[in-house]
């Protein structure tokens, strides 16, 4: 008797081990929850619905604007699930590995503008050519070009762009004895970012206590660079960052800020930066359209009616994204239809109304209406007018595969050393150079 019960224990243990092992192996083969599976069996649920997954980062606003619900109502056989990764620097490496593994991707994958060239140059064969599916003339030429390969394959449809303006605190400007009218201010710094910085020197002469003119030198750098045609790469895709006129100009303006006392010396998208908004510790910030939602959220009620928007010194673009359909998607047809619908001018206008993400399709501009509370928050500024004027004149920019890490090296190593560690601009440039060499593996 005793032996037999012991044996049955053993058998159970063996069975458990076997189950565990096969479970592990099966886990390697395919995780049914992780990726899209076949429509005939797994993908459709009991009602025969197809579930489409949309992989995004940050806040795209589709869900908030009710677009998914609307689409599901229009297409009762479609179910949409959004997989959000908050940070782009986590989202993109993950997406890259999944694309190359050919599994685990969502049916629609968002691509940030900082990564789009890398996607075009290295992952084009992993994406469906969406150019054949849409009327390409809907988009701004440069936006379409960013997601199109040399042989004309469009791997992503443009969602929003980041036309630039300057958001400023009217109340602080008034206390500092500066001009507060948005058109006059725009005239004052028109054409040159260094004029915008000059005004900062005026501001600091009579600055309300505890406030600075601008949040950081890096934001001025990014804004100024956003208006340059030549950035880190030339037209043919060679790295020219150290000789680029655009970089030089933006760097010089940023150095003016970093070596003066007009910067609050914050790091963008950092907690203290958010607090800076809440406490009103800086008077201006370079403001792409998508930043407006952020300001409203972080400045909160205390900033209502105090913020205003003026046209930026130069037309510039900062940020934006695309939607692509991976070839690994099991529901390509449905996914393409959804991507088309989400990026169509009407839907882009709805997202603008929700969170001021600016459309990349000019035909939407005529009927753009920001949300009423956004307009009120920014002192009834003609937001649509200011951003669409900027959007129409943004120059075509040459992007490259390593744009993102090169940019980080300049702002978070070079500029930060000058701004926060008191290094000279030459030392900052030298440090950025070393860093970029490391980035490029030179």
């Amino acid at each position: 008797m005793r032996t037999s019960t012991r044996r049955s224990h053993r058998m159970m243990a063996l069975a458990a081990v076997a189950a565990l092992t096969t479970g592990l192996l099966a886990g390697c083969a395919e995780d049914p929850d992780d990726g899209p599976s076949d429509s005939s069996s797994g993908g459709g649920d009991a009602k025969g619905k197809i579930t489409l997954t949309v992989g995004t980062f940050g806040v795209f606003g589709y869900k908030q604007a009710g677009l998914y619900d609307e689409y599901m109502k229009l297409n009762p056989d479609i179910n949409i699930k959004e997989n959000v990764t908050t940070r782009t620097d986590v989202y993109w490496p993950k997406t890259l590995t999944r694309l190359q593994a050919g599994s685990g991707t969502d049916d629609i994958q968002a691509i940030e503008v900082g990564n789009v060239t890398e996607a075009v140059q290295t992952q084009a064969d992993k994406f469906v050519d969406l150019g054949k599916e849409v009327d390409k003339s809907q988009w701004l030429d440069w936006k379409l070009a960013q997601a199109t390969t040399k042989d004309g394959k469009t791997i992503g449809l443009g969602t929003d762009i980041g036309p630039m303006a300057i958001c400023y605190r009217k109340d602080l400007f008034e206390k500092a004895g500066l001009e507060t009218d948005r058109t006059k201010l725009a005239e004052l710094w028109k054409g040159d970012w260094s004029k915008y910085v000059d005004l900062g020197n005026d501001y600091m002469k009579k600055a309300p206590s505890g406030t600075k003119y601008v949040d950081s030198a890096s934001s001025v750098y990014n804004a100024a660079l956003g208006g340059a045609t030549e950035r880190y790469y030339d037209k043919d895709g060679n790295v020219v960052w150290d000789k680029s006129a655009g970089v030089k100009e933006a760097w010089d303006v940023a150095m003016e800020v970093a070596t003066s006392d007009m910067s609050a010396k914050l790091k963008q998208f950092d907690k203290p930066w958010d607090q800076g908004y809440a406490n009103g510790t800086f008077a201006t910030v370079a403001c792409p359209a998508w930043m407006m939602g952020y300001i409203q959220q972080k400045s909160g009620d205390s900033g209502k009616g105090k913020w205003d928007v003026a046209a930026a010194p130069t037309a510039a673009n900062w940020g934006g994204a695309f939607l692509g359909v991976p070839t690994a998607s099991k529901h390509q047809k449905e996914a393409i239809a959804l991507a088309k619908w989400l990026t169509a001018p009407e839907q882009q206008a709805k997202v603008f109304a929700e969170q001021a993400s600016f459309p990349s399709t000019p035909s939407a501009y005529a009927n753009l209406k920001p949300a009423a509370d956004t307009t009120a928050y920014f002192s009834d500024a003609p937001i649509t007018q200011i951003f669409s004027d900027s959007a129409k004149t943004i120059p075509t920019q040459y992007l490259g595969a390593k744009d993102q890490p090169i940019g980080t090296a300049i702002t978070d190593v070079g500029i930060l050393q000058v701004e926060q560690k008191g290094k000279s601009p030459e030392q900052g440039w030298e440090a950025a150079t070393e860093e970029i060499k490391d980035v490029l593996g030179q």
Partner: protein
């Protein structure tokens, strides 16, 4: 069952006579001594197989998991480290030999990261273990509500790195952080904790110390409670005070435990990653604008996932592994020495 056993008892009576001494051997002799006969021998063979194999089966799950999630990746990383592999072109691997390693040895960033890992490791591990020893000593006295104290000690360990670090980031905030506010009372100018060279390393170390001191203290406490009390009594009879008791009884008795915590803390310090990454906030993998607190772990992450050079990142990973092996060897030598000297 019983009848067959009796039948078997005769030829193997000598073995059966002393079953208590060597049960395994007795059974073995019994089995060998009997001619194979039907189900019975099948059963005994199965039983023998069972005796031999089941320990391995029981530990197999660990090795299966270890193989799948540690050994294979480890070897694959070694393979990667000898190639030029970009994150955006994983299938396009070109042989690079030892280039990635040579590249590291000549890179200022690597040596900087190695130095930072070492200095942060020292300024976080040494105070942490000393404090833990001291706390354990205090907790070893009879205290009211000793369980409460012990639970409190363990709470930082149970807190997630992310949550703890976020709080510390706010405490160390340059503008309006509590620490600078306190320093202001004593008349010290605000320190830019994140960007200053020693300040950032100090700040990162405090997060590590805060999280791990309680954990180590509990380990010490457990070991202290195993020290027989007559040792203290006889020391007291010889006229040893509390400090002398601690110095000459507690610490020597804790030696193996201290060694264990040193090993574990050293491994933890070499792999330090989460605290500095989150402390840095946006682009935290740079470890500050001058890489003043970029550890090896951060440098690896920056190279592999931010810059996309997986080959080089793998070389960093293997360098870290080799460094850990060296550290382990040193630890082993030291512990052998200690054991001999005892």
């Amino acid at each position: 069952m019983s009848s067959s056993k009796q039948a078997l008892a005769h030829p193997a009576s000598s073995a059966d006579a002393a079953p208590g001494n060597q049960p395994g051997a007795a059974r073995g002799a019994q089995g060998r001594g009997t001619p194979p006969a039907g189900t019975d021998s099948w059963r005994s063979r199965l039983y023998r197989w069972d005796m031999k194999a089941s320990p391995y089966v029981f530990i197999a799950p660990f090795f299966v998991i270890f193989g799948a999630f540690s050994l294979v990746p480890l070897l694959y990383t070694a393979w990667y480290s000898l190639h030029n592999v970009q994150l955006s072109a994983l299938d396009n691997q070109t042989w690079a030999g030892l280039d990635n390693y040579k590249n590291l040895l000549s890179s200022d960033f690597f040596w900087n990261a190695l130095t930072n890992t070492f200095t942060i490791g020292v300024i976080s591990t040494v105070p942490q273990l000393l404090a833990a020893l001291w706390l354990a000593h205090l907790l070893n006295y009879r205290l009211r509500g000793s369980v409460v104290w012990r639970v409190v000690m363990l709470t930082p360990y149970a807190t997630s790195v992310a949550a703890a670090t976020l709080v510390f980031v706010l405490l160390y905030s340059w503008d309006g952080g509590m620490i600078n506010w306190l320093l202001d009372f004593v008349g010290i100018d605000p320190v830019n904790w994140r960007e200053s060279d020693w300040g950032s390393q100090f700040a990162v170390s405090t997060i590590v110390i805060w999280r791990w001191t309680g954990y180590n203290a509990l380990i010490y406490l457990a070991a202290m409670q195993a020290i027989p009390s007559d040792l203290y009594e006889s020391a007291a009879l010889d006229g040893a005070g509390r400090w002398q008791q601690f110095r000459h009884v507690t610490v020597p008795m804790l030696r193996p435990t201290i060694l264990f915590t040193v090993v574990v803390s050293t491994i933890g310090a070499t792999q330090l990653f989460g605290e500095p990454l989150l402390f840095g906030g946006v682009s935290g993998s740079k470890g500050g604008s001058e890489h003043q607190y970029q550890t090896l772990g951060l440098y690896m992450y920056d190279q592999g996932w931010m810059i996309g050079n997986l080959g080089k990142a793998s070389a960093i990973a293997w360098s870290m592994f080799l460094i850990l092996l060296i550290v382990a060897a040193i630890n082993m030598l030291v512990s052998r020495r200690l054991r001999k000297s005892q």
